[in-house]
């Protein structure tokens, strides 16, 4: 009995070992494609990866994240990447996801396409820059009674490349309001020039998971994980006069864009309409006044909709839409950048259209 048992164990082990050995040898010979080079966006980045693996995985390992919902099983069709050279033929597993138009552009499904030789690919610049950052809270300060400015110092990676106006996703760890990690998007308020830091302006939303976390739990020195940058809310290249409209924490991307313009000596005509209820909702006035002085063509127009008696307010009053209507002339030449709640944005779009601003020249970042 014992002998039979021993024999069967030995034999099955021998078979397994033999086959495993065979696989190891095959892996090292037939399956070994050596290291191959991936050239991204016309050589703006070169990666050296182990050949023979799917493109999606190879890029992921090198920190280039291609969005994929199914995790590389070829069932979501999201991870498309343009392979301009070294692509070879399409695989049957890619074809259901690739249209004729995409075939002409050599778009491949990166989770199915395997890197076997040196290839050149093209990916959107944004994706190329999206990374996960380990950061540390450098400072938190109150901008108003319900808006906090959080300044994060980037630790790993220690630098971020972004366009002014883009946003990042803030990772909220598990705490009393959530059983799992959640992500919330916040616009970056700091200048792209300050690439070792990211500043966020976060308004307390009653019962908001992330805003409560930031306002009630986050302390200086805490670790925070973010990923980004994302978004196409950035200044378009033209000479048209600019209308910025934002209230409350919607100032963040606008401030970033303004700082960037100042740094680059961009002298486009620009007005920033900043709407608030009363004086206690206004913030960073000194900073914006300073920018106004440094930039001859920039005007800052704060407006209060319900100024209190003690505010002694001498500036513009009324709803932001009315203030815009009063101050903007020749809308047809303007570009407008809006950031705020959906209600405010919709109302502003209506007024801007009335003033003659072309729909294709209105850009916005809606909070949702």
């Amino acid at each position: 009995m014992a002998i039979t048992l021993l024999i069967s164990i030995t034999i099955i082990s021998l078979i397994s070992v033999f086959l495993a050995l065979l696989m190891v040898i095959a892996d090292a010979t037939i399956g070994n494609y050596g290291t191959v080079k991936i050239s991204i966006n016309d050589g703006s980045k070169e990666l050296e990866v182990q050949g023979g693996q799917p493109l999606l995985k190879a890029l992921n390992q090198e920190g280039v994240f291609i969005p994929s919902a199914c995790g590389g099983r070829g069932s979501c069709g999201l991870c498309k990447v343009k392979v301009v050279s070294g692509g070879g033929q399409y695989l049957p597993t890619e074809l259901p996801w690739i249209s004729d138009e995409e075939k002409k552009q050599q778009v491949r499904l990166s989770c199915q396409f395997k890197v076997k030789t040196d290839i050149a690919i093209v990916i959107p610049e944004e994706l190329f820059l999206v990374k996960e950052f380990k950061t540390q809270v450098e400072s938190i300060r109150d901008l108003t009674h319900d808006i906090k400015e959080v300044r994060l110092k980037l630790l790993d990676p220690s630098e971020i490349t972004l366009k002014a106006g883009q946003y990042i996703q803030f990772e909220v760890p598990e705490y009393e309001k959530t059983d799992e990690k959640v992500y919330r998007a916040y616009s970056i308020a700091s200048s792209p020039d300050d690439n070792k830091h990211v500043e966020l302006e976060i308004r307390l939303v009653p019962n908001g998971i992330c805003t409560t976390y930031v306002h009630k739990h986050l302390k200086e020195g805490d670790a925070v994980t973010i990923n980004g940058p994302y978004g196409d809310f950035y200044l378009r290249d033209s000479d048209n006069p600019i209308i910025f409209i934002a209230g409350g924490s919607g100032m963040a991307p606008i401030k970033s864009i303004l700082l960037d313009m100042e740094k680059k000596g961009n002298n486009r005509k620009a007005s920033y309409f900043f709407g608030a209820r009363s004086k206690r909702d206004l913030f960073l006035l000194d900073e914006l006044k300073a920018l106004e002085e440094k930039m001859p063509n920039f005007t800052f127009v704060p407006a209060l909709s319900e100024p209190l008696e003690e505010d002694a307010w001498k500036g513009e009053t009324g709803l932001i839409t009315d203030v815009v209507r009063k101050n903007v002339k020749e809308g047809s030449k303007c570009e407008a950048y809006l950031c705020g709640s959906p209600g405010m944005i919709n109302a502003c779009i209506e007024v801007l259209t009335e003033l003659g601003v072309l729909p294709e020249n209105i850009f916005y970042d809606k909070f949702s």
Binding site: S8, I11, I12, D27, P92, T93, K114
Partner: protein, 197 residues
């Protein structure tokens, strides 16, 4: 049946009268999911023919010269699975490396059928029915061809079906199973011609 015509009879029986898919209902999962397109069905069918025709004799050798001498027949389930998996993996790697064209048409399907029960089933039937080496090979080949015929027939029907009004509750796998049932009945019509023990 005389010994000499036995192998040929097995070949034809496994294609038609004892079709592994339609009489034993083995290998249903890939049959149901892949039979939407004629082109992919063809690729998968050819891959099945190849794997069945090669792994069955391979397993016969392992069984006769390794398992029987040591009295380990009861381990055949595990051993057959390992042998099939390793063989398929090796073949896929080789094809992928050396022939892009073949990989396009055949290689890409190989990993999908490693765990296809029809393939293990063929190896196990071969043992139960005590086939010789040659008969095992023909049985594997025939079963593969039978599976191939069944899936392309189904794919053809399903492509026509796109123009038919299928009741909402029967769409997809439902109607496919009903059709598979009809096909099985049609194939059973051949049963009287040759029977496999």
């Amino acid at each position: 049946m005389s010994e000499s015509i036995m192998p040929i009879a097995v070949l034809f029986a496994s294609i038609f009268t004892s079709n592994i898919l339609l009489t034993n209902y083995l290998g249903m999962c890939s049959f149901l999911s892949v039979s939407k397109e004629l082109k992919t069905s063809t690729g998968l069918g050819i891959a099945v023919i190849f794997v069945m025709a090669t792994t069955t004799p391979l397993n016969w050798l392992v069984y006769q010269y390794l398992l029987i001498p040591f009295g380990l027949e009861y381990l055949r389930f595990i051993v057959f699975i390992i042998v099939i998996a390793a063989f398929v993996q090796l073949t896929e790697m080789t094809i992928e490396r050396y022939s892009e064209g073949l990989y396009q048409s055949l290689g890409i399907f190989l990993p999908l059928i490693t765990v296809n029960c029809a393939i293990l089933g063929v190896s196990l039937f071969m043992v139960i029915r005590e086939y010789t080496f040659l008969t095992s090979f023909l049985f594997g080949l025939g079963s593969g061809i039978g599976w191939f015929i069944a899936i392309i027939a189904m794919a053809g029907i399903r492509q026509k079906l796109k123009n038919a009004k299928v009741p909402a509750g029967l769409e997809g796998p439902g109607i496919t199973l009903v059709i598979a049932g009809f096909m099985a009945m049609a194939f059973m019509g051949f049963t009287g011609m040759i029977t496999l023990s």
